[in-house]
Amino acid sequence: MHRVVVTGLGPVSGIGIGVHEFTDGLRSGRSAAAPITSFDASGFPHHWAGEVPAFRPEALLRRLRVADWGRSALFAAAAARLAALDAGLSLPTTDPGRVGAVIGTTSGESTVVEQLTAELVAGGYPAMSAEALRQAPAERLSYAVSAELGLAGESVTLTTACSASNYAIGYAYDLLCWGEADVMVAGGADSVCRWAHAGFYRLGALTERACRPFDRDRSGILTGEGGAALVLETLEHAQERGARIYAEVLGYGVNCDAHHMVAPNEDSVAACMRLAQENAGVKPEDIDYISTHGTGTPANDLCEARAIRAVFGDRVPPVSSIKSMLGHTMGAASGFGAIATTLGIRHGFLPPTINWANPDPELSWIDPVPNTARPATVRVAQNNGFAFGGNNAITIFGAIR
């Protein structure tokens, strides 16, 4: 069994593109929330989101032709390129078959599908463009990463909705642990789109302008987007090439509620935390920080906080939700959580939960690191991800020892 470490980070987010901007965004509590520009949102009562207006794929990508790929694939590939640069990986690697990509997503090429829908509405099915149809399959997210970086190893897209990045990190971790690969690029990507915005609005889960997780008056999510990628490699591989090591991947856990497609389940979430901790060989008291799923809906945050108390008892570590800054970036969300967790371990700080004003008396055991990043020694941290379909996935990271 190989130890697995994080050596490169590639965030493409509304609070920063690249690890330096993103770190600065986390430390300063920056917000990506702004009026939607990627589609005409004027008909929606709530029309703010966490977009990435500064995303210029052509400025980041070296090999992909931008016109050949959908927005989510471009997010994934750009994030992967940034992560590879940050890791100092020389590409193509000497053995490309030992380097692969696992990318998670909720809605895949949602903006491509929306384009197809618009063509259909305008001219019927035969009016759908063949090129958009070729770009629509979700597997193209990981293929974009592999093509951009010249990777010949396993290239898989996991479509387990809003915990998909944690699934991706977990699967990549297993492949590395087992010696099936030397390096894996893992993360997730999604794009803001009308249909998801409409769906969350009609579920009553969409807030107006500010996402305020764990606040008494929290009112829902902001839809968000972006690409999050981490370079993971075996410890030996990282040491041999003299790579800088951010943190170690200690393990992960996945399970399924098998209860409801949309509503979270407290017992199942708690069970997933225990699975992840057992897999990582840590106990609740070892964990110094939790990057929560923290969507900012009344139901999620209550469920998650209760599950945390069930697992951690009266020793609940500080928690925060970076969705307060980024919005809910769907399939990329737990990837951004993993990046934030890794940075917290490396630089000794806890990212804040911004927009927080009032404690929720029902969540009295929660310290949400309100509004301002906090210096802290983080030895072990837990990164939560939950999803429609009851697909829970939790990753655990630790300082390298």
Partner: protein, 344 residues
């Protein structure tokens, strides 16, 4: 990393069994079903290799089924049959150790596009039906199958179009090897809708097919009852977009090496549509070639799952084939390759 195939649930235009599936693939002519009355929208062809007479309410009951899309319902039925065929009854002792891993392409393209269309054609863009929102996420089928059968173990959806089942199989073998679960329902599902029919037509991939094929895969363990239908010995995958690359042949070599199977012993190769040339230097010319697509159309993420069904049909009818290794292979338009080694 290996897994035992102990049960199957297969639905295709050819019928509800691997025997019928094998027979259709042997004939090799499109299994056409009249689809003209199925949708209000026009279709590119009057006949298509779609599943006939699929009655959700009859198969799954009325409760909780009225909002299911077809792909989800097909997957749920196939999962139920694979569990029953494998003799696994989920209960409070085992449900945490049993999960679902399904392949997909875009989830239900129809569900997503219908939902998306409402944002364009309604008076207000938010006048969508929230009950249908979960159908737009690509893990809908695996989540609903888990709910129906109470399966709380590893639950994943793997995108890969024509390779999705092979990716799902590899993902499942990893979860079994790591001891995360004891059994997994592994499969692929694609529905036939105007969306998929026109997509296949417009991209030259047609005709679109329809199938759901799910297998109960168990960790080899002492005390496992029943005779397994086959063993999955290894799955290898890779991404080789350059035409000059070793590509599928290299992937097959890796899979065979992992499985400790000599290439000369390979008895059959099953796939969507085979380009035998690329494998002629790896696998004996005498090995049987079986292609799913000429009979069942473009079944995307169900393709590999149907290929496994064809092999199981063969192993079931031909005692001489028992114990001999076979391959399932695939290649995607983007240059991804995958190969699985199974033994009946």
């Amino acid at each position: 990393m290996t897994g035992l195939v102990t049960g199957w649930g297969v639905l295709s235009a050819a019928g509800d069994s691997v025997t019928e599936l094998l027979a259709a693939v042997r004939v090799g002519a499109v299994v056409g079903v009249d689809v003209r009355d199925r949708f209000d929208e026009p279709l590119p062809t009057a006949q298509a290799p779609a599943i006939a007479d699929f009655d959700v309410r009859r198969l799954l009951g009325r409760k909780g089924t009225s909002f299911l899309d077809r792909a989800t319902a097909l997957a749920m039925v196939a999962c139920g049959r694979a569990l029953a065929d494998g003799g696994l009854t989920p209960d409070d002792d085992n449900r945490h150790r049993v999960g679902v891993v399904l392949g997909t392409t875009t989830g239900s393209l129809k569900s997503t596009m219908d939902f998306s269309r409402e944002t364009l054609v309604q008076d207000k863009p938010y006048l969508v039906n929230p009950v249908l929102f979960p159908n737009t996420v690509m893990n809908c089928a695996s989540g609903q199958a888990a709910i129906r059968y109470g399966l709380r173990g590893v639950n994943a959806t793997v995108a890969g179009g024509p390779l999705a089942f092979l990716y799902a199989l590899r993902y499942a073998l990893n979860a079994l090897r790591r001891g995360y679960v004891d059994a997994l329902l592994v499969g692929g599902v694609e529905e036939y809708t105007p969306n998929t029919a026109w997509a296949a037509e417009l991209t030259g991939a047609g005709p679109a097919g329809e199938a759901a094929a799910v297998y109960l895969l168990r960790r080899p363990a002492p005390g496992l009852t029943g005779t397994p239908r086959a063993q999955v010995l290894a799955v290898a995958t890779g991404f080789q977009p350059e035409p000059s690359a070793d590509g599928l042949a290299g992937c097959v070599r890796r899979a065979l090496a992992t499985a400790k199977v000599r290439p000369a012993d390979v008895w059959a190769i099953a796939s969507g549509e085979l380009d035998t040339d690329s494998l002629s230097e790896v696998v004996p010319a005498a090995a049987q070639r079986m292609s799913v697509r000429p009979a069942l159309g473009d079944c995307q993420s169900a393709t590999g799952a149907l290929a496994l069904g064809v092999l199981l049909g063969h192993y079931a009818e031909d005692p001489a084939a028992r114990g001999r290794p076979a391959l399932i292979v695939g290649r995607s338009r983007d240059g991804a390759v995958a190969a699985a080694v199974v033994r009946g």
